[in-house]
Symmetry: C2
């Protein structure tokens, strides 16, 4: 493994394998060709053409969401989409735009709609050393079970804002009180586009840093993280360089932290590939 | 103006207007087609083909550099390359690779070889406010005269390292002592690819942050900066959003600083375009 390998695996997207999902003149998703084909029989909802799939269902957000839900139901029955997660994400042309429809989180990679999340680098200084709080994901997680994770991370569901999601996830995952989390500093965004067995992950992660009090001990409340450890950042970096122990996208978030805080510098032969590889320009 | 406009103008590169400059199997530059045509008469140095220009001069780095210099001489005479700057940059397939030849800095955009620089965000906290030291470039500068600039910035000439260039430029441009500059924190890289009247700028800027003592007053020694001002970061950002007072690439370096330090956050409608627009992946 290398840092570059982690970046490459999160950016293995191949445009030749995909057609856009459009709503009028706007692109709202990226359908792998096999997934596009699977939509052909829902011709009152999607028009599958050679170079794109057009959403043809009409109505307000609630009506279109309901229509798309019926398609997702059928795709779940066929095993093309994993089970419902009962958490919906907005499908929209870009961040901040009104949604065209809302989609169960489990179906997001199938349609390749852009998904947004928050990730928190929770750190503290012990003498000269900078340390990071690391969580281990539950074996029951649908995505990346047992992998190491940031102390706090979560998807931004519809009707939730960025800070709002960070506060909520911080309480659920690590019992971080609002008074502490409100000191988290917004520090950028990590973006990548990745093909998985389910389809396309077109992800944008809002990144925050929070310096933790020395006496803070995280406690999980929602069962999503099963263990916490405070690790020297240098050990975290070597673990990332050598293994796939961390969840795929968490490697990128921690590399971004390392670059911003001078833990990874110009002397490292991978420095420029890392510093310029974590922020796929949006389109 | 907007933040996006500054990012766009530094990334106005259009691959259809350019052919690669190759040395064997490696790309070492990007030649605009008119510049490629101008090399046709130097057929013992460059083979101009439809889809690429191949370096055919043979020999060690000194010999090839000498041969290319003679071409640059002729291009200066024709007015295609501005006057010699008597500072040479490496032409190489990637950072850290042995150079194929060395090129006068004035000819770098003509050949579109990648250029590397260092930029320093010199900041301090005044109460709640974060302030940035800003310099004004001399009216005599060849590039971007009179524009506002970082406190310290400079190109990395051949035989100079990253930290070494930062120390040297810090002394020349702002009289920053080595003891202070050694506290600068490496914080990433800004990269962009831009067409200018001269050719292609394929630039990578190593970015550093340095918290300045409250009583430090910069003094210029090399005549490149004629005035210094300590400005609240919020005022700097509004000036960047509204004007072109800062040098084209300095806008990007300061936006990167603003994103990393939470001065520009998810509430800003341009946040994601900025956070994902400052780090063109290298190829």
């Amino acid at each position: 493994m290398s840092f570059r390998d982690h970046i490459r695996s999160c950016n293995n997207y191949d445009p030749s394998r995909v057609v856009p999902l459009t709503a009028g003149s706007a692109r709202i998703g990226l359908l792998r060709r096999d997934n596009a084909e699977a939509l052909r029989r829902f011709s009152d909802v999607f028009a599958v053409e050679e170079h794109r799939v057009e959403l043809v269902a009409r109505g307000d957000v609630a009506a279109v969401s309901h229509t798309v839900d019926a398609v997702v139901d059928a795709l779940v029955d066929e095993g093309r989409v994993p089970k419902w997660r009962n958490e919906t994400f907005d499908a929209a042309p870009h961040w901040g735009a009104p949604p065209v429809f809302r989609l169960d989180r489990g179906a997001v990679p199938f349609f390749g709609t852009r998904a947004y999340g928050v990730h928190l680098n929770a750190y503290l200084r012990q003498g000269e050393a900078l340390c990071l709080w690391v969580g281990r994901r539950s074996p029951a997680k649908q995505v990346a079970p047992n992998k190491l994770d940031n102390l706090v991370a979560g998807g931004i569901g519809n009707e939730h804002g960025v800070r709002d999601t960070l506060l909520k996830e911080g309480e659920e995952e690590a019992s971080i009180p609002t008074s502490l989390m409100s000191q988290a500093i917004s520090a950028g965004a990590v973006s990548y586009r990745m093909e998985t067995p389910l389809g396309i992950r077109d992800d944008v992660l809002f990144v925050f840093d929070l310096e933790m009090p020395a006496d803070f001990l995280p406690k999980n409340r929602d069962g999503e993280l099963v263990h916490f450890e405070l690790m020297p950042a240098s050990a975290v970096l070597e673990r990332i360089r050598a293994t796939s122990d961390f969840k795929f996208n968490v490697n990128l978030v921690i590399l971004d932290f390392a670059v911003r805080h001078g833990l990874l510098g110009p002397d490292d032969p991978e420095y420029l590939d890392v510093a310029t590889g974590l922020h796929r320009p949006l389109d």
